[in-house]
Symmetry: C2
Subunit: 407 residues, 2 copies
Amino acid sequence: MAQIEKSNHNSDQREAGRLQVLDVIRAAGTIARIDIAKETGFSPATVTVITSQLLESGLIEEITPEPAADAKPSTRRGRPRVSLRLRGAAHLIAGIKVAHNSVSVLILDFEGSEVVSHDMPMPEPRMATPYFCETLKRAVSQACAKGGFALSDLSGIGVAMAGLVDAKRNFVYWSSSLTDRNVNLGAHLDRVLPCPVFIDNDANLVAKAEHLFGEGRKVDDFIVVTIEHGVGMGIVIGGEIYRGERGCGAEFGHTKVHLDGALCQCGQRGCLEAYVGNYALLREANIMDREMPLADIGMLFKRAEAGDAMARSIFERAGRMFAMGLANIINIFDPKLIVLAGEQLSFDYLYADAVLEAMHQSSIQVDAPLPEVRVHAWGDQMWAKGAAAYAIEKVSALTVREVPVDA
Amino acid sequence: MAQIEKSNHNSDQREAGRLQVLDVIRAAGTIARIDIAKETGFSPATVTVITSQLLESGLIEEITPEPAADAKPSTRRGRPRVSLRLRGAAHLIAGIKVAHNSVSVLILDFEGSEVVSHDMPMPEPRMATPYFCETLKRAVSQACAKGGFALSDLSGIGVAMAGLVDAKRNFVYWSSSLTDRNVNLGAHLDRVLPCPVFIDNDANLVAKAEHLFGEGRKVDDFIVVTIEHGVGMGIVIGGEIYRGERGCGAEFGHTKVHLDGALCQCGQRGCLEAYVGNYALLREANIMDREMPLADIGMLFKRAEAGDAMARSIFERAGRMFAMGLANIINIFDPKLIVLAGEQLSFDYLYADAVLEAMHQSSIQVDAPLPEVRVHAWGDQMWAKGAAAYAIEKVSALTVREVPVDA
């Protein structure tokens, strides 16, 4: 028994070592073995062993730089310095963002370069599980066809969806895209898709994308607040997504900002989302003006810009409530950076100067700079990129496990 | 330059390895070298090198168990199995908890066993920095005298105090114990005390104590909410105290639960503390009854127990506000465990069944169990124990750095 545990321990260590080397190569782009040893702290001998295993498995490749045309023979003495890089062709990996109106698919190679980008309209915003799975399959099949390859050429698919997702188990407690609750969505998708699927909450995957490609590069502790139909949050601590025990953390939109307050879509009262979500604003507008359409936040925003006092007061309160919510995040996490990300940032009421000023005033006051707030407007393709990055990470872990020791 | 970086890297790794071995020995109590290798994943040869360095430096010692009296000679063949344990006498370390009325000092040996416990009344709840430093010195000197040794025999002192503390820098932005703001308290204490001092927010150190000795043993992700004069929070993520960027995180008591709400001691409006702190309850009581003394929460509690409607309504609202705050913590962290800790838990209005029920109702509802809530009433000595544990950790790190490589 002790022996088995020890051997698992050793193989875990071997996998961790390979993943660490892969990560260093990914971060560097191209890098020589000696520099991998410096970055990882591994001995040069260990790096030689690991990199030959990774070369053998096709995950990385060697590149020998051409000597410069004008280089003198004397500078070309000895063996040329060989660098390593990821082999893009090793894997094709898809990321999917499920939104209310559309499914966005992005296919990346193993290096993270974009191969295909595709958007498909959602037939309905909310579906039963089997129909939902078929819809995702259709979207990703269309993307593959666009790229001239088969669905079976994919090594993994990441799925970003709104709702309460236990990423560890690929399990969806609740999502605004599904009519069913408590769905073992991973198992359902496994039946219709030919490769491993990795599901997570969409705000978590935005945080992943911000960390790898966006405003959170080289920042290991930060918070992303997403503003879309609802309000989401992704927490990065120590370079990792923080998910909580059951996968239900980071529910910023459902933190309560008023005891027994306004009714939220979730059925509870006083949630932040019930004060700042589109539906909340339109609900208020409708009280003052029964003719106000219940779906057009753009029209309400235009009215506010034109000076309509009712419309202004609605946005103003939403901004103050949002500022209070952000201040609470600062008072709890004291992060270095907060990224406000989303598609609907064209309506600036949630990150206007007045909102950020109110946020500052409700934050703990010390004689040290408050967290930086960066606003990052992006579309569904960027969310899909986070999903693909998550899948690349997972596929890397699966692949290094299969690399033989004596490669 | 690259060479220097590499050598720092190696010595960091050496220190990390030594600390890891020390941690394993501390957790086990007594443990054989071969089991240290299993626990750490280090090779037996590495463990032999590290443990001989630690033996040489006096941080650990060998124990050879006596063979059982009835053991046959045949079972005693070969070398007896030697185990290792921490050498308690290696260091004496003090922990100090600064409260409104008293300074509690606990002196532990390096193994964590209690050597001396001492309480001294605080001359004033709030002092200027030099007087505060002298007060701490007096308290810890008295504790040393009680144990029959000198202040200079201590290897380190941990200090737990309320307020905004940047533990990394031993810097106090603000504390209810100090009349000054922005105090480089570490430097001040260094001038009057003969050993290194390590300062942290008291709720962080309660979390440390819960993790090492209390309800959070073997739980790597949990939240501690402290209920004393104010409301504090300690966050443990991945087995480590989460402190935030400037050391101002986990300010649960100053998260806002009402836009433009009740005035808080901190000068802002709508803080949770302004609804659940003793002063907040007494402020309300005083409105209904001008004779109500503004400092006696016990009397107000007795009135509520006796059925006084005004008093009951005050506690009832405080409980509901507190439940809402706890639900927000669950919705953000989704922790496995919440520990409610503090001295004033004899007044149960903040953790009555009705409060926990209200907390459940405001938490994200999924078909998975909600976090466990444990109530842990303890006195100032336990806070001091957290401070001492923190100092033991820091002293260990300083000591392993000084152990020579060729020991």
